[in-house]
């Protein structure tokens, strides 16, 4: 009987699952058009598309960076350590996404992007911390994904500003 419900550890060989991460990005993408003066369907579609692209880039570039920065760990784990670390780290987007929904729909703050930016920065840095927990050495594992998150969130913010 499973006695450790809710614990992060998973059996080896189980593939990483990123649907909660992409769901967070889609939710943030859905919220963004509500911050515009006039809600438009085109903005909604473009915003969801943009959020998904940012999400795909955040996940896959993080995995790629962790793999290339820790070749020994990649070989030892059969290429799974980076995927698992990113999966665990990206779960930390959930609180920010829920709070963004509360702020937009309950408090009418029109401030989705600060939540999105904090979410992506926290998730990437936490993925780095997870990599270090798996045996990777050096602060680069936290600083490089934080830099990536900064670039992605800044780019996302700029592109959101261009949406109709």
């Amino acid at each position: 009987m499973e006695m450790n419900l809710g614990y992060a550890g998973k059996s080896s060989g189980q593939r990483a699952n990123f649907w909660p991460t992409y769901l967070c990005f889609i939710t943030l993408g859905i919220l963004i058009p509500f911050t515009k003066p006039i809600f438009q369907g085109v903005t909604l579609i473009l915003s969801i598309f943009l959020a998904l692209i940012v999400g795909l880039l955040a996940v896959n570039l993080s995995i790629m960076l962790f793999n290339s920065g820790n070749p020994d760990l990649r070989v030892a784990s059969g290429g799974q350590f980076a995927r698992e670390a990113v999966e665990n780290g990206m779960l930390f987007m959930i609180p920010f996404t829920v709070l963004a929904v509360l702020a937009q729909l309950l408090l009418n703050w029109n401030a989705v992007m600060p939540f999105a930016s904090a979410a992506i920065m926290t998730a990437c840095a936490t993925a780095g911390a997870e990599v270090m927990k798996k045996g990777a050495q050096g602060m680069k594992n936290v600083l490089i994904p934080s830099g990536l998150a900064f670039l992605l969130s800044t780019g996302w913010m700029m592109l959101v500003g261009l949406l109709p």
Binding site: G6, Y7, I94, P95, L99, L107, P114, F115
Partner: protein, 188 residues
């Protein structure tokens, strides 16, 4: 190495809480007394609420007396409020069973607001120097940045339960933001 960590000045521990909260929570929190941490969170929320008051004062929604009331509410929120939140999280995580004391929980929660303090100070500077409305842009952003140390603290207290810590951190964040929104209205 351990000795170095224990001898690190408290401001460095606070900085580490911003940069690498996972490590700070794991190895340095037992050396930081809870009154010091509560001072950090108390000051953070006092300055954050001050900006809320100044924003409302500028738009003519409140008088100076109400600004002072909001500032005092901020102080109460950042001290008693954060301590209560820490105790609630400690109890729900059953952290006592894992050897974490209430003092440890309050200390970790309070110091988690180091990033909020940086944002609050920066926001106040912009508010006073340029007359900007900074409560949401700087204040709320600062509170959001404190969510990461909170997540790590709860994760540590709950024995690395990711789903539980994500859920409880969401609850803590929601209580803080909704509480701030309600108190802001009370001040009006």
């Amino acid at each position: 190495m351990n000795k170095l960590a224990t001898e690190a000045p408290r401001w460095k521990t606070a900085l580490n809480m911003v940069i690498n909260p996972g490590e700070a929570v794991k190895s340095q929190m037992s050396k930081v007394p809870w009154p010091y941490s509560i001072l950090v969170s108390g000051l953070s929320f006092t300055l954050f609420f001050m900006q809320t008051g100044l924003d409302l004062l500028r738009t003519g929604q409140i008088e100076t007396a109400a600004v002072i009331l909001i500032i005092l509410l901020g102080l109460l929120y950042g001290t008693a409020g954060i301590a209560l939140l820490a105790v609630m999280s400690w109890a729900l995580s059953r952290a006592g069973k894992r050897g974490y004391t209430v003092d440890w929980a309050i200390s970790a929660f309070g110091l988690g607001y180091s990033a909020t303090l940086v944002y609050a100070l920066t926001g106040l500077l912009f508010s006073l120097a340029f007359g900007w409305k900074t409560a949401v842009a700087f204040g709320v952003t600062g509170v959001l940045w404190a969510l990461r140390p909170t997540l790590f603290t709860i994760k540590q207290m709950s024995g690395e339960r990711t789903a539980f810590s994500v859920a409880l951190s969401t609850l803590c964040g929601a209580i803080l933001l909704l509480g701030w929104a309600l108190l802001g209205r009370f001040g009006v």
